[in-house]
Amino acid sequence: MSAHARLDPPADDLPLAAPAAASSSVAPSPSLMPARLPPRALLLGPALLLAIWEAASRLGWLSPETLTAPSQALLTGLQMLRDGSLLPHLLASAARAYSGLFIGLATGVVLALLSGLTRSGEALIDGLVQVKRAIPTLALIPLAILWLGIGEAMKIFLIATAVFVPIYINTHAALRGIDIGHVELARTLHLSRATFLRKVALPGALPGFFTGLRLAVSLCWTALVVLELINTQTGIGYLMNRARDWGQTDVIVVGILIYAVLGLLSDLVVRAIEARVLRYRRTA
């Protein structure tokens, strides 16, 4: 064992692995890349962080005024769920995020199709979107408030304007980057323009669209956090803001955890849809 200057492997792994390697007459080729991890192993980092955080709280290194213990946040969360004070806010947040996502999604797809499939569309649209991309969404907040007030419309509008950009960029790029071999095939098969779009161009752009969609889904929750700090009486962001005023770090942590869980869940759902729609990629 001492020959291996390795620090990390669990001790009970080594007695099995090392003699086998030593008795082999063929020198093992050095592995240049680490072996692929099982998905569950990715939970190690977060679990470790939680454990350290919990321990620090219990040992009194972290005061509840600075940061509440994760176990306490979990209890608070369950308590809020039970007394019905969490669900209305959760629903309000989800309604905002998904309304904005839906509007942004539709806008992004329509603009990408116009710009990706017609020259005049590209001339009109692409430059504008590139300019929009350079402007941070937060910089539009003052204007959006002047135009739409401080209510729901402003928030949904801003989420939509943030979300449509990655949808547009990725769908447009996929349409523009169509496999030239497929275009040639379509020409030799004398496909009509409608058939070409339906059977060749649009299916070919789907992987790009899904890349954009995954970015958009996480972006709609990100934008929501900021917007819910502005004049609301509902939503997770409002709960967190109020908890800050009252010094309730446990509620703040609950809010953070909810954002994390919703973001991850949304991503999982999109990935599942993507795997289903793009199932032709599987080779077995």
């Binding site: 071999g181 497929h182 040639e184 095939l185 379509a186 020409r187 030799t188 098969l189 004398h190 496909l191 009509s192 058939t195 059977k199 060749v200 299916p203 070919g204 789907l206 793009l278 199932r279 032709y280 990629r281 599987r282 080779t283 077995a284």
Partner: protein, 242 residues
């Protein structure tokens, strides 16, 4: 070629085809006449203009066609080196792409049966082997009952055994409907096994034009085979291996 031949489906006539890429001339005032039903193999070293000529014939290179005169009569099908199946369509949908799907279905299934892919009609292309993909592509070409079949090294990416099987399959399928075939290949044996006429391209022109009169099915140990093989290999710059 007389105007009468050009009115028959399956004829090819090219005059003064030229194509330059930058300062490099790939096709140089090339003339070509092919009679309906002829199986022509196009040989040449890499860079001799084989693929450029085929793409010009297929209408995929407007510049080359514009430089001279080009006439192909009847339906034209193209067989690419990569099978070019659309990955999001099933094998059957790939065959009937652009056709009236319901009407083309029986013939498509029949062709899949004949190329040995009856079981795979509903499979995704990603699940097929290289040889299976190329058989599906061949079936897609033949489903359109072409008068002219343009094939650009269709077996170039296949392993040696699969290639032999595919050559036999192509010959059998072609013998039934007798389309004109232009087969671009770098494989002298493939040209000798399949073609009635072998053209050797050099520097953008047709340098040699051999009729191959051996009867089918041919074998590499036929007496006429070896002699012509030697001539062609020498012409292609390969010294005798003997």
């Amino acid at each position: 070629m007389s105007p009468q031949v050009l009115s028959t489906p399956g004829a090819i006539q090219a005059r003064h085809l030229s194509r330059r890429f930058g300062s490099k001339t790939v096709l140089d005032q090339l003339d070509l006449d092919v009679a309906p039903g002829q199986f022509v193999a196009l040989l040449g070293e890499s860079g001799s203009g084989k693929t450029t000529l085929l793409r010009a014939l297929a209408g995929l290179d407007q510049d080359a066609a514009a430089a001279g005169k080009l006439a192909l009569t009847g339906n034209v099908s193209v067989l690419f080196q990569d099978a070019r199946l659309l990955p999001w369509l099933s094998v059957l949908e790939n065959l009937t792409l652009g056709l009236e799907a319901a009407a083309a279905r029986p013939a498509a299934l029949q062709l899949l049966q004949e190329v040995g892919l009856a079981e795979q009609s509903q499979a995704w292309p990603a699940t097929l082997s290289g040889g299976q993909k190329q058989r599906a592509a061949l079936a897609r070409s033949l489903l359109r009952t072409p008068h002219i079949l343009l094939a650009d090294e269709p077996f170039g990416a296949l392993d040696a055994l699969t290639r032999l099987r595919m050559q036999g399959l192509l010959r059998r399928m072609v013998e039934r409907t007798r389309p004109t075939v232009i087969l671009v290949t770098h494989d002298v044996d493939e040209a000798l096994l399949l073609a009635d006429r072998i053209l050797v391209l050099e520097q953008g022109r047709i340098a040699q034009d051999h009729a191959v009169t051996l009867s089918h099915p041919r074998r590499a140990d036929d007496p006429g085979f070896a002699a012509l093989r030697q001539v062609l290999l020498q012409r292609l710059g390969v010294e005798s291996l003997a």
